[in-house]
Structure formats: structure tokens, C-alpha cells
């Protein structure tokens, strides 16, 4: 019976929907008594952080009612970040500290206030030091939680353009004949010397 109890425990844990006794027995080896195993299992979980509960005519493991307050984090809804936000974030990560004007220059379109606000709210970017240029514009930099979220130790570990190309993230086309603008220089620097390893 201990073995049958283990089986019921594993099935209830791993199944997305509540499971009926009949279904439990259909999945367990022939001759098992799911109903009896459930009685033991239910007893075992009495007073624990999770409970074996009856839902209609099926069974499920659920959080103990008094611990519901711990579950607030489980109710989050995840949405994909918009393309504008991803691009803005990418530019900040690769070029930080970077001003809003610089972001707009690289993206070629203006950056909406909502996009920056959203990234600030997510705590993926924060304000950096002001630039020592006319108007002393604020800059943006990425945060520790950005690094945590994307599994990076350092923003410098982001692969350069050449590496992106080698990884198949870019169409592999011949580089343009000329290198327009200072941005390209910066990119070249990061990829310098790696061409050897990553060119195919």
C-alpha cells in the first residue's frame, strides 16, 4: 500500500487537472486500490502546507487554505515585451550609458515615454550619470535584475555583431563596403580578434 500511496502522490502532483479514482487506477499497475491509497495519502498530508482535496469527483493536491497569502506570486500573467521595448532595451544594454537622443538615433524612430517607463518599472533599466554634454542629458544603464533575468554576469558578455552572425542570429551577408558612423566602430571593437574563431 505504501507503494500505491507513492504512485497516487506522484500522479496527483504531476497532473495538470484533478484526477478521478478511476483514472488513477487506469494509470496504476493492475490490481491497485487507488481509493484506499488516497485515504492514506490524505491522512499523511493533514496539517501540511499542501492538502489532498476532493474537487467534484476527482482529486488534487492544493495549497493549504491558510497559506494562500504565499501564493500571490503564482498569479502573475506573463506577456511578451513589445518590439519597441526589446529594441530599446537592447540598445541600452549594448551602448550603456546612453541618452534618449542616442537611442533614437540608433533606432531611427523616437522612443515613446511609455516604453522607457515600462523598462524602468520592470527595473531592467535605471538612470545613469548625466552626460557632460550641452543640456546635461540623463543616461540609461541596465540593472542587476536585468542581468539576473537574462542570465548574464555582465552586460559586456553580450555577444558582438560578428558573434551574433556566427550563431545564426543574423542573415549571413557580406558586410557592407563602408562602415557608417561611430557606432559601427564600437561594435567592431567588441568583435575584434574574434573573427578568427567565429567566421565560417
Amino acid at each position: 500500500m505504501a507503494e500505491q500511496e507513492r504512485m497516487v502522490e506522484a500522479i496527483l502532483f504531476a497532473t495538470a487537472e484533478p484526477v478521478t479514482t478511476r483514472e488513477l487506477e487506469a494509470r496504476m499497475p493492475h490490481g491497485c486500490d487507488a481509493a484506499e491509497a488516497l485515504v492514506y495519502l490524505r491522512k499523511r498530508y493533514e496539517g501540511r502546507g499542501v492538502q489532498v482535496m476532493k474537487v467534484g469527483d476527482a482529486w488534487a493536491i492544493r495549497t493549504a487554505a491558510d497559506l494562500g497569502f504565499l501564493m500571490q506570486k503564482e498569479t502573475v500573467e506573463t506577456r511578451k515585451l513589445s518590439r519597441a521595448a526589446i529594441e530599446t532595451l537592447a540598445i541600452i544594454a549594448y551602448h550603456q550609458p546612453v541618452t534618449r537622443a542616442e537611442i533614437e538615433e540608433i533606432r531611427g524612430v523616437s522612443v515613446s515615454r511609455g516604453t522607457v517607463d515600462q523598462l524602468l518599472e520592470l527595473e531592467w533599466i535605471r538612470f545613469g550619470r548625466r552626460k557632460m554634454t550641452p543640456g546635461r542629458p540623463v543616461t540609461f544603464v541596465v540593472t542587476q535584475s536585468f542581468l539576473d533575468h537574462f542570465g548574464l554576469e555582465n552586460a559586456r558578455d553580450l555577444p558582438g555583431l560578428k558573434e551574433l552572425r556566427a550563431a545564426g542570429l543574423l542573415e549571413n551577408r557580406p558586410p557592407p563596403g563602408t562602415l557608417p558612423g561611430p557606432e559601427t566602430e564600437a561594435e567592431d571593437e567588441s568583435g575584434e580578434g574574434q573573427s578568427e574563431l567565429f567566421e565560417d
Partner: protein
């Protein structure tokens, strides 16, 4: 060469047949190191005790056979063959004290190490894949969203999203439609301006290439553009009567000189 024959004899017929059977399967190998590892198994000894010399023989025999069968081997297989032939000669000939670089034994030991390491990684990979795996042998919680009390929206993005986003922006220039890259183009107007200033000094026949603007000679794209523009500008100046142009034969250098009123009258 006597040793050579001796070595040949040491490879049993069965081994040679086995090696030849591999030929058919040449596509099944992941590079020369993989092939060497497979060949080394025919020696039926611990990889640490492997005879690299014998292995070199087996490999060279393999490549020879492939050539006979007119199978195309990838370049890296041939590079390995050349290296093994070199290694073989180092191992067979008495060491030449004047020769620089590592000894045959050192090279052989390193190859043996590489083979052993590759085999070890293969074994490790097999052991890793034989482990119980999540979603196959053991399982995560099936019902993860239990309480729906607070609805909070979070936004997610993966590192791939981020890198692709960046790549998209930074390569936009590479496929913008129909915009001329002016940086590598020397226009005829520019060439005309330049030539007008220079022809005053072109008393005698000079190669047109010496009129190319500075800094445009090295890069092939720039050089092409500057040459074309300079040539077109020269023709224009000939038409205007300021220049003379000649070419002694096809593909010979094109030469320019200033048109001289005096000279014209005298001839």
C-alpha cells in the same frame, strides 16, 4: 623505407579490411579526429597504449583507398593525412638534433591525448543522456497556478529576443533598399573639379592612374569608382579641348597630357 615495409606488414589483413569497410561510410564521420578514433578501435587496446604510428598507417591507407574509389574527401581529412605523413616520418627517422620543434614522440602523445579526451567526452555525453530526465523520467508540478488572487502582469523577454532585436537594428543598414553608399563613390563632378586643377601640370604624357585622388588607391571598391570617374572626366576634358588622351594598345596604360596650342600649330 625498410621500416616502412615492416610496419605495413604489421597491420593484419582483417584490420585492413575493416578500415576499408569504413570508406563506404565516410559521410558518417564527424571529422578526421572522429575517423581516427574509430580506426583506433581496431587496435583493441587501451587508448593510452595505442600505437600512433600504426594509426597513422591506417588513416593514410583509408585516404589512399578513398582516392582509388574516387571519393571526395573534405579538405580537413587531407590536412590530417598530410600531418600524419609528417608525423610518421618524424617517428621513423632518427631524430635530427638540428631540427626545431617538438619531437615525433611529443606530437604522437598529444594526438593520443586528443583521442582519449574525445572518447572521454563521448562517454560522458552518453552517461549524461542516460540520466533520468525531467519530463521523461521525473516530472514537475502539473498544476502550477493555484490561487488567483492578485493579477499582476509581468513582461518577459528572452536573451534571444534581445539579441535578435539588437541585430535587427544594427543590420537595417545592410538591407535598406536602393540607397547609394556615397562613401565609396567618387563622382564625375568631383573628378572634373580635381582634374581641372591638375591638368595645368600635365605637360608630358602621364598615366591616368596617377590622377587618382589620395586615399582612394587601396580599397578595391573605392579605386574602381575613382578610376571610372577620372576616366570619364578626362574624356570630358578632351571633348572640351583641354586634354589629349592616348592608349598604345589594348589594356596598355591610358596616358594624358595637356593640349598645347603651340604644339598643335607646329604639327
Amino acid at each position: 623505407m625498410a621500416e616502412d615495409t615492416f610496419e605495413e606488414d604489421r597491420i593484419s589483413v582483417a584490420d585492413r579490411l575493416a578500415a576499408e569497410a569504413l570508406i563506404v561510410d565516410v559521410d558518417g564521420f564527424e571529422g578526421p579526429l572522429d575517423l581516427l578514433l574509430t580506426l583506433s578501435r581496431t587496435q583493441k587496446v587501451d587508448l593510452r597504449k595505442i600505437s600512433v604510428l600504426q594509426l597513422a598507417h591506417q588513416y593514410l591507407a583509408f585516404v589512399e583507398k578513398a582516392k582509388q574509389l574516387r571519393l571526395e574527401l573534405a579538405a580537413d581529412y587531407l590536412v590530417m593525412a598530410a600531418w600524419l605523413a609528417f608525423l610518421k616520418s618524424r617517428l621513423l627517422l632518427p631524430p635530427d638534433p638540428t631540427e626545431e620543434g617538438p619531437s615525433g614522440e611529443e606530437l604522437a602523445a598529444h594526438l593520443a591525448f586528443q583521442l582519449e579526451r574525445l572518447q572521454a567526452m563521448r562517454d560522458a555525453a552518453a552517461r549524461l543522456m542516460a540520466r533520468d530526465q525531467l519530463g521523461r523520467d521525473f516530472f514537475a508540478r502539473g498544476q502550477s497556478e493555484m490561487v488567483t488572487r492578485v493579477r499582476k502582469v509581468t513582461y518577459s523577454a528572452t536573451l534571444l529576443d534581445l539579441m535578435q532585436g539588437y541585430a535587427r537594428i544594427r543590420t537595417r543598414d545592410e538591407f535598406r533598399p536602393f540607397v547609394m553608399d556615397r562613401d565609396a563613390v567618387f563622382t564625375m563632378e568631383q573628378a572634373l573639379d580635381r582634374m581641372r586643377g591638375l591638368i595645368g601640370f600635365a605637360g608630358d604624357w602621364t598615366d591616368i592612374l596617377s590622377y587618382l585622388p589620395e586615399g582612394w588607391e587601396m580599397d578595391p571598391a573605392k579605386r574602381r569608382s575613382a578610376t571610372a570617374a577620372t576616366f570619364a572626366a578626362s574624356l570630358e576634358l578632351v571633348k572640351e579641348g583641354h586634354l589629349e588622351i592616348r592608349q598604345s594598345e589594348t589594356f596598355a596604360p591610358i596616358q594624358l597630357r595637356k593640349r598645347d596650342e603651340h604644339r598643335d600649330r607646329s604639327t
